[in-house]
């Protein structure tokens, strides 16, 4: 009898434990649960306007349905606005799968942390969600569709979270990283800016990039791939450019990095292996080259001498030629030695971009290069002396070495 009783209790316990771990006690009706894939946050007349893009299977069939999967809530607080989405639609907005947050440009004019802090502390949303800044209204981005993805947030995530092998041309950041930057010693963070490239603007963009490539020898038009579509923005003709970066100091936007500077920023802050460098107009024949980075070794050394800070950035890149616009030999381009002129132009171009970055840091005060953090970590004793005027007392040297096949 006792054995039977024990067995019965054990089976009950195992069963209850299974329920305990498997969420079977969850009582939300799945048919009333809206899986939010992205949020767009704007400010309108002192109200927060939160638009939620909802993944409804039917909504992905056509582009026009895609727009209907956007629900907007408005309130004085972010949490209130999200709650209103549920109240207005009757669908419970489940944010656990929300991997993207877009902020309108008005949000960045105030302290963006007033908004972001809610997402950083609530457990309803993952703080690994990527955050981006819209050029204008955040909602407009969610209303668009790309030629390959009806749901714009999915298309955007592909641009922001690139697989290995793509160019590192976007300074992707998530809620955690942005907040960590804000609450760090330097109160500085970065965020990619999303620009919409519709048919018309794509034409302009192409014009711009061709003219800029004449003046500037490096640069990329990241985040866009070809595609012809209809004329309106929600008919699948929109592509997204995330290659510019917004700089934040104390939660407010204080500056921007253009495409070339964003590239340089990624070169010195991350491992840029498999990214590419464009060198255009080399020599008398104006040959264009595309170099693929096979090895990247960024270093920075901060020293203190005679009451001044010395920062040395060094970047060692090993590149291979991917393509060139000349046919002087029938050899595979990958085994071709890197011409000295190309090497020098690449070094000069990257060096200038890095110098630009330091000057932008000095002018905006946004420590996106984490110099203050380095000062705190490596020279804690000197930190009180330099913490308020480290940018004024900063001297720097930049060394870039591009090597290739010999």
């Amino acid at each position: 009898m006792n054995l039977k009783k024990t067995k019965f209790i054990m089976i009950c316990c195992v069963f209850i434990t299974l329920l305990f771990f498997s969420n079977d006690f969850g009582i939300i009706n799945i048919e009333k649960t809206a899986i939010v894939t992205a949020l767009a946050i704007d400010i309108e007349k002192e109200d927060y306007v939160v638009s939620a893009q909802i993944a409804v299977p039917e909504a992905t069939d056509t582009n026009s349905e895609n727009q209907k999967a956007l629900i907007t809530g408005k309130d004085k607080t972010i949490a209130g606005a999200i709650r209103n989405i549920g109240n207005l639609s009757g669908w419970y907005p489940k944010l656990a799968f929300c991997n993207l947050m877009i902020f309108g440009k008005e949000v960045a004019n105030e302290n963006i942390m007033k908004v972001l802090d809610y997402f950083a502390t609530t457990l309803r949303i993952q703080d690994s969600a990527v955050v981006v800044l819209a050029e204008d209204k955040a909602r407009e981005i969610l209303e668009t569709a790309s030629p390959l993805d009806n749901i714009s947030s999915f298309a955007l995530q592909k641009i922001l979270l690139k697989e290995t092998g793509f160019d590192r041309d976007v300074s992707t950041t998530d809620v955690r990283a942005f907040c960590a930057g804000y609450y760090s010693k330097n109160s500085s963070s970065v965020m990619p800016i999303i620009k919409l490239l519709t048919e018309t603007s794509k034409g302009q963009e192409k014009g711009n990039s061709s003219s800029s490539s004449n003046s500037s020898n490096t640069g990329q038009n990241g985040g866009s791939s070809g595609g012809n579509g209809a004329t309106s923005s929600n008919k699948g003709d929109t592509l997204y450019d995330a290659t510019t970066t917004a700089l934040f100091l104390g939660g407010k936007k204080v500056g921007e990095l253009n495409t070339t500077q964003t590239n340089a920023f990624n070169f010195i802050m991350t491992d840029s292996k498999e990214s590419t460098i464009k060198i255009n107009g080399v020599g008398r024949d104006k040959i264009n080259y595309l170099l693929n980075i096979k090895r990247s070794n960024p270093k920075r050394v901060l020293t203190i001498e005679n009451g001044r800070l010395n920062l040395e950035f060094s970047l060692d890149l090993f590149c291979k030629i991917v393509d060139k616009t000349s046919m002087e030999s029938n050899q595979n381009v990958e085994v071709l030695p890197l011409p000295l002129l190309v090497k020098e132009m690449a070094e000069e171009s990257i060096k200038n971009s890095i110098i630009d970055l330091i000057e932008i840091e000095k002018s905006t005060g946004c420590d996106f290069l984490k110099i203050k953090d380095t000062l705190y970590q490596n020279f804690y004793d000197f930190y009180p002396t330099f913490k308020d005027n480290y940018l004024e007392l900063l001297d720097y040297t930049v060394k870039v070495n591009v090597s290739g096949q010999k």
Binding site: I9, M10, C12, C13, I16, T17, L19, F20, F21, N23, F25, G26, I27, I28, Y92, K94, A96, N99, A120, T121, L123, R124, Q126, D127, S128, Q157, L161, E163, D174, R176, C179, A180, G181, Y183, S184, K185, Y376, Q377, N378, Y380
Partner: protein, 362 residues
């Protein structure tokens, strides 16, 4: 003579149950005061617990008596019962934070929409069931759970490794000794696991070689805790103090999770399984001691009463959780240090002169 526990089970007990309770809110609670020196605060706790472990193992080597028998021999039955009662109180206080963090974790992260008391009720049923069992059930559970704990930790740590910025630990000691000690003090409710060994005394065969094995397994388990604390701070840096549920958060920033989905929950569930047992350990030992104090044969009644008390405090006083948490962090930790460090480290003194060289039975 066959003992209730094997040395292997004692070793696995530490690996299975020691690290799992220290990865919910403990890292954030310490980093609120010690910041990047959080790992030093953890290390202080580990080292102090190591002294306790060595003292108890040393005593075990010299006697076959249980801790309760030693207390009765030295102080008499009444004082022994008072000390046992103090330990009951210690275990009841100690389990409050752990059970609460487990409850909050389950309710807020696994059942986000309508967290209800009902969701966590099964835990108390499991608690009554386990507290009703003899000591050897812990050995059997350790035999199973160590693998789950190890798999969980390996998965979570390897997934989070790419986001760890080790330079964030610098400068070492910048927060000052006082803050580091404050961090150590606040973490006392989660440490003091070696105190369980007091009640394993006389229930396992040990010698010098086996003691080394137990110490090494303890150090292995502590290594997981220290590594987790380091990873935690190096990932969250300046916002570490706000991350109450490090367990869920630590691994999700890697690209593979973004692309594939939250498969790290496999590791989290493995750890949660071990945590259920680990969190039940204090009530288990409280029941064991209460049965000894009152010579009770009715195990169901004792385990139901103890679980009932915990249930009332945890569930019915939910709205006062913050105040209770503050009370434990600010006032109870001194009591925890007394019960989990001072008293156990004095255990060798309980041995009488002749007893120290008493031959042990095989």
């Amino acid at each position: 003579m066959k003992k209730e526990l094997y040395v292997r089970q004692i070793c696995l007990f530490f690996i299975a149950f020691l690290p799992v309770t220290k990865i919910f809110i403990m890292p954030s609670i310490i980093s609120q005061v010690a910041n990047e020196d959080l790992w030093i605060s953890v290390l202080i706790n580990v080292i102090l617990d190591l002294f306790v472990l060595v003292a108890i193992l040393n005593t075990c080597r010299k006697t076959n008596k249980t801790y309760i028998q030693l207390l009765e021999d030295v102080f008499g039955k009444t004082i022994a019962k008072i000390i046992m009662f103090l330990y009951v109180l210690y275990f009841l206080l100690k389990c409050f934070i752990s059970i609460n963090e487990q409850k909050t974790y389950v309710q807020l992260t696994l059942y986000e929409t309508m967290p209800s008391v009902f969701y966590f009720l099964p835990f108390f049923i499991v608690c009554i069931f386990l507290c009703n069992k003899k000591m050897n059930v812990l050995g059997r559970l350790a035999d199973v759970s160590w693998l789950l704990t190890t798999v969980g930790f390996v998965l979570l740590l390897s997934l989070s490794f790419s986001n760890v910025q080790f330079t964030k630990l610098l400068p070492v000691g910048a927060n000052g000794g006082l803050n580091i000690l404050h961090g150590y003090y606040r973490a006392n409710t989660w440490f003091g696991d070696c105190v369980y060994l007091l009640f394993f005394m006389g229930k396992f065969n040990t010698d010098k070689k086996n003691n080394v094995k137990i110490i090494l397994s303890y150090l292995g388990a502590c290594l997981l805790v220290v590594i987790f604390a380091i990873f935690f701070f190096c990932i969250f840096t300046s916002i570490a103090g706000r991350q109450r549920f490090a367990l869920t958060d630590i691994s999700k920033y890697t690209t593979v999770i973004n692309n594939v989905g939250r498969f790290d929950y496999i590791g989290i569930f493995c750890i949660l399984f071990s945590t259920v047992v680990s969190v039940i350990l204090p009530p288990f030992f409280a029941c064991y001691l209460l049965r000894k104090i009152f010579n009770s044969k009715n195990t169901w009644v004792v385990s139901s009463i103890v679980t009932g008390i915990i249930f009332i405090v945890v569930i019915l006083l939910t709205q006062y959780y913050s105040s209770i948490e503050n009370f434990i962090f600010n006032y109870c930790n001194t009591y925890f240090i007394l019960m989990a460090f001072v008293l156990p480290i004095l255990t060798p003194l309980l041995l009488k002169k002749g007893e120290k060289y008493e031959l042990k039975e095989n």
